[in-house]
């Protein structure tokens, strides 16, 4: 019973929010945000409380092990902060606020199912729940043409990627006559002769997952959708759906396809190099900050995929640590972005000039998160990039590490140009921006987390590596 504790709590909050949306009057809508956040918090506490419960349900289809528990903690943290972000962004939402929270909770439920499932079908269901809720969330701003356009683009490419995913799964089923991960693994090891079906199937699944990670080949949608959709949804894409896709892919890759890793690593390396070069060069002339964050999340996805080159728990631990740091950094950045989105209509980078005069707090938080995105020492981004580069070089991909280093330097250019604008330029209007209490707390938490991870990463890396051992 207690194995599915997170999902149970989340479903409960889903229904509570649904009913309270009907009962509460129009002006007390913001209460819903707090309710959702509370729900996530409770689920988080419960999950930590039942930390040492592990086992499997539904005849092995649903498993709760170290890895899935850590992933769920991550999802709940994301959910908690995203619900607060939506609450501050509420002034922009013309339609009902309630549905937004429901979609968010549904997506998080889908993620936690996806990460604990060891059956391809259940993984597919989890992924689909996430995709469906993201379809609606992207085009939530009914009046904004860009939001609708983003929604349609996301829909089209989401459909293509789901098609690829299904095709992959059916091929694997064809090759191993089962949907269960363990049996597929044995089929792969024993079958010796025609591994082609399994390999091609895996490839299709990988390509469909690259859609959520925004990696080559499915990276084209990211900039437009990031720019069009409302800021909390952009945050959702750059953090939530990417983490879900990566954790699910971790399970699939390391539990089934580890034996054929050395050939696949070369493909990964080529894809990573293409993503990094494409993302960083395209980001340089960007004028819109959300579009810029689109390319930046693409580049970070490339770096995370570098972690997949590792073949042991230590390497996978680095991937999880990178996710930790990416979540904290992007949350901090998007809190500032969503707050400022209320003050400027088209999110151009120029509007960030002289932010230091307007509100030093926001400026310093965005400054720290930009440092972490570039990978400059005192922040967690630096440690994360370092570890991932270490595992790439450790596996003999020195050329990839060199490309990674040079692309990181290139990224320094467009991140630090924002910093330059914020600190060195004079603002147009010097009206100070008031920061609601909830955003202040969450900013303190996230920025604090980024700095702590940067200065004392030791224990966190150890935690991630512990979780990663359960994959092998």
């Amino acid at each position: 019973m207690f194995l599915m504790i997170t999902e149970i709590f989340l479903i409960a909050t889903l229904f509570i929010v649904l009913f309270s949306d009907l009962l509460l009057s129009k002006n007390k809508r913001s209460l819903l945000g707090i309710l959702t956040a509370l729900g996530f918090l409770l689920a988080l506490v419960a999950q930590i409380f039942f930390w040492n419960e592990s086992g499997s349900l539904f005849e092995g289809m649903y498993v709760q092990d170290e890895f899935s528990k850590l992933a769920k903690v991550l999802f709940l943290i994301i959910g908690f902060f995203l619900s607060l972000m939506i609450r501050t962004y509420a002034t922009k939402l013309v339609g009902g606020q309630g549905e937004f929270y429901l979609l968010l909770i549904a997506a998080i439920i889908g993620m936690s199912f996806g990460v604990s499932s060891t059956n391809l079908l259940l993984i597919f269901i989890g992924l689909e729940i996430i995709t469906f809720s993201s379809y609606i969330m992207t085009s939530y701003l009914k009046h904004a043409r860009a939001s609708i356009e983003a929604g349609i683009k996301y829909l089209i490419f989401g459909a293509i990627s789901t098609a690829f995913g299904l095709l992959g799964m059916s091929l694997i089923y064809g090759g191993s006559a089962s949907l269960d991960i363990l049996t597929i693994k044995n089929a792969l090891l024993s079958s010796g002769s025609d591994q082609t079906l399994l390999i091609v199937g895996f490839l299709f699944i990988f390509i469909s997952l690259t859609f959520k990670m925004a990696i080559v080949p499915f990276q084209v949608w990211a900039p437009d959708v990031y720019e069009g959709s409302p800021t909390p949804v952009t945050a959702f894409f750059s953090i939530a759906s990417k983490t879900a896709a990566i954790t699910i892919f971790l399970r699939i890759f390391y539990e089934i396809f580890l034996p054929i890793q050395n050939q696949i690593s070369i493909i990964f390396a080529v894809i990573i190099a293409a993503t990094l070069v494409y993302a960083n060069f395209a980001a340089i002339p960007q004028k819109n900050i959300k579009r810029l964050f689109g390319f930046s999340s693409m580049s970070h996805a490339g770096f995370i995929l570098m972690g997949f080159l590792a073949s042991d728990a230590i390497g996978v631990g680095f991937v999880l640590f990178y996710l930790f740091s990416l979540i904290a950094t992007n949350l901090a950045a998007f809190f500032v972005l969503s707050l400022l989105a209320n003050h400027s209509e088209n999110d151009r980078v120029i509007e960030y000039e002289g932010l230091k005069e307007k509100s030093p707090m926001l400026a310093t938080c965005l400054f720290v998160s930009l440092l972490s995105l570039t990978g400059i020492p005192p922040t967690s981004g630096f440690v994360a990039k370092l570890l991932v580069l270490y595992s790439a070089v450790n596996e003999g991909f020195l050329w990839l590490a060199v490309i990674g280093i040079f692309m990181a330097i290139l990224s320094a250019y467009y991140y630090l140009s924002i910093v330059g604008k914020m600190f060195l330029e004079k603002p147009k209007d010097t009206s100070p921006i008031n920061i609601p209490l909830s955003t202040q707390i969450s900013l303190y938490l996230t920025v604090g987390f980024v700095v702590i991870l940067g200065v004392v990463p030791g224990p966190f890396i150890h935690l991630c590596q512990q979780a990663a051992t359960s994959l092998f």
Binding site: I152, I156, L203, P217, W221, Q263, I271, F281, A282
Partner: protein, 620 residues
């Protein structure tokens, strides 16, 4: 104790410059005292040397740098050569210090002047008593630095500032060759590279033997000798690098006396004497040295004839006398060269100090504005006359004996050398006669109230004039270690003495006839010599050649380098890389046109590429 010789002036310099800056009188006495102490020590050493010559040469040294294959030490070497030179430097130096206490009385930079003098004294003594090349080079540069500071003492004057810069840089060009020579000798001293040394004694043993054994080629020794000669030419203002000496007259007169007459310029000749074991090895080297010496002597003499500034005449006469000494060295007569150096130190210092008194009284340096001073300044006139006669080399004075030695050497060597020496002697006596008659004889032009200079200025003059006369009888050559029987006073020597005295008297009388009797506002010689006069007066246009080099060759080349640097390093590497990166970014931005069809096309292309990769890799 004896290390005080170099340290005491240095301590004097430090004391004055760091602490006693404000008390002028005290600084004066400290710096004079700081030179008198070494003088006393050297005299004591000299006595010791006389009593038991066998105990010399003595060496005291302390290690300076000792790391891996390199061992340098700072040491003091006492033998006849260095003690006599030390006597000259400290003796004449302290006299000049006393003179400048009177001369610089009312100058507000009084203590700064004496600090520089103390620094110079310690550097000069450092050269004289050094026992290895590196220490000589160190004090060589410090002497150059001290002369830079002293020439540029009145730095607010443009001409003094330029002159000091020129002096230092020309010396530096000389040192360029000198350090190369030291390195080359150090390298040659032991080809195995184990026990290489820069020590004079060590080199004196190893170099000649290795040349005999054929380990070192004669060409290498010639090259090493020439490089060392560069240093000598730079410091002793020989022909190609002499341009700084006339401009160095911008400094106060005691400075010219101390540095550009007695001591610093003699350092080059002293170095030649000290390292003569290198020069004796190859014949061509000696002839080159002789040629440089002879040429400098004759050209400087011609230039001196046409100068109108008293100090520039004396400067060129120093250059020509130094030419004599280098010539003597070149003719394989280091002892007679050193002998002339010692005697020259006395009477040239006397002449410079004399001219100092004159300028002090008349406040102008232009010969044609002076005249008839003999009546008002009897002692200065008398001492200046003694100095002039000594410089020309008339019988009783010390100049006669040392010049005779060089004359006999030149006579013995070749007819050309003899003619050069004789010609220079004539020119020397002519221009000295000209100076003497223009300043002291003839009607008095300057009506100002000329009075004899105070005793503190005259005392050094008297002492120096005493030495100028009687130095010849002290038997300096024997002191310099030449066996008694060698100095030939045979009949052939007297015949040469007669010729030279005749030539000198002819020069003196002709100059008196031209300049002595009536006042000339303009030099009569200029009409007589015409274009030749302007050639000599403008110092053979060598200054103009060097200025042409600096302004037309060196600076444009530097600007060319700057422009190329501007284009390559700044524009290309920094500016355009930024633009290139930006353009590449724009190209990829154009890919994302925003419409779905292009996206789908990109997607399809990428998937196809991945699949071909998979097929190749897995060899499906």
């Amino acid at each position: 104790m004896t290390s005080l010789i170099i340290l005491s002036p240095l301590i004097g310099f430090a004391l004055i410059s760091l602490f006693l800056f404000r008390w002028k009188k005290l600084c004066g006495w400290i710096s004079v005292g700081s030179l008198l102490i070494p003088f006393v020590l050297i005299v004591q050493l000299f006595m010791q040397m006389q009593s038991n010559p066998s105990s010399f040469p003595q060496v005291i040294s302390v290690p300076w740098i000792s790391i891996m294959g390199l061992h340098f030490e700072l040491g003091l070497l006492f033998d006849q050569l260095s003690i006599l030179m030390g006597l000259l430097v400290s003796g004449v130096g302290s006299l000049i210090f006393i003179f400048s206490m009177g001369y610089m009385e009312e100058d507000k930079g009084y203590s700064r002047f004496f600090a520089y003098l103390a620094l110079f004294a310690s550097a000069m003594l450092g050269i004289v008593f050094s026992n290895n090349f590196v220490q000589t080079f160190i004090f060589w540069e410090l002497v150059g630095l001290a002369s830079y500071l002293l020439i540029g003492f009145w730095f607010s004057k443009d001409s003094a500032a330029d002159a000091s810069k020129k002096a230092f840089l020309v010396n530096r060009v000389g040192d360029f060759g000198f350090i190369l020579g030291i390195l080359f000798l150090w390298f040659l001293s032991d080809p195995t590279g184990v026990s290489r040394t820069v020590d004079f004694a060590g080199l004196a043993q190893s170099i000649p033997t290795q040349v005999q054994l054929g380990v070192i080629s004669s060409g290498a020794i010639l090259l090493a000798g020439l490089l060392i000669l560069c240093g000598v030419i730079g410091k002793s203002a020989q022909l190609p690098l002499h341009v700084w000496l006339p401009d160095a007259m911008e400094g106060p007169t005691p400075v010219s006396a101390l540095i550009h007459a007695a001591t610093m310029v003699a350092a080059g000749v002293y170095l030649l004497a000290r390292t003569f074991f290198i020069f004796t090895i190859s014949e061509e080297l000696l002839t080159i040295v002789a040629i440089i010496g002879g040429l400098s002597a004759i050209t400087a003499a011609t230039m001196a004839v046409c100068q109108s500034d008293i100090k520039r005449v004396l400067a060129f006469s120093t250059m020509s006398q130094l030419g004599f000494m280098v010539l003597a060295m070149g003719l394989a007569g280091p002892v007679s060269g050193m002998y002339h150096l010692l005697t020259h130190g006395f009477f040239k210092a006397l002449l410079f100090l004399g001219s100092g008194c004159i300028i002090h009284a008349v406040h102008t340096q232009n010969l044609f504005e002076m005249g008839g001073l003999s009546k008002k300044m009897p002692i200065t006139t008398l001492t200046f006359l003694i100095g002039t006669l000594a410089l020309c080399g008339l019988f009783p004075t010390s100049g006669f004996f040392s010049k005779e030695e060089i004359l006999t050497l030149a006579h013995g060597h070749s007819m050309l050398a003899f003619i050069v020496v004789l010609g220079t002697t004539f020119l020397t006596s002519f221009y000295m006669g000209r100076v003497f008659s223009l300043t002291f004889l003839g009607p008095q032009r300057k009506p100002s109230d000329i009075h004899e200079s105070p005793f503190i200025l005259l005392f050094p003059l008297i002492v120096l004039s005493f030495f100028s006369i009687f130095a010849g009888f002290f038997g300096i050559p024997e002191l310099l270690g030449r066996a008694a029987h060698e100095s030939h006073h045979g009949t052939e020597g007297n015949f040469l003495a007669l010729i030279s005295t005749g030539v000198i008297l002819f020069g003196l009388i002709s100059s008196y006839l031209i300049y002595g009797r009536k006042t000339q506002s303009q030099d009569p010689l200029s009409k007589g010599l015409g274009p030749l006069y302007t050639l000599f007066e403008r110092k053979y246009f060598i200054d103009e050649i060097y200025n042409f080099y600096v302004s037309k060759i060196q600076q444009p080349f530097a600007r060319l380098c700057d422009i190329t640097n501007e284009w390559i390093a700044i524009k290309a590497l920094s500016h355009w890389t930024g633009i290139v990166v930006y353009q590449v970014g724009n190209v990829s931005r154009k890919l994302l046109t925003g419409n779905v069809q292009t996206y789908a096309l990109i997607l399809a292309v990428q998937i196809v590429v991945i699949f071909t990769l998979v097929v190749i890799l897995f060899k499906l």
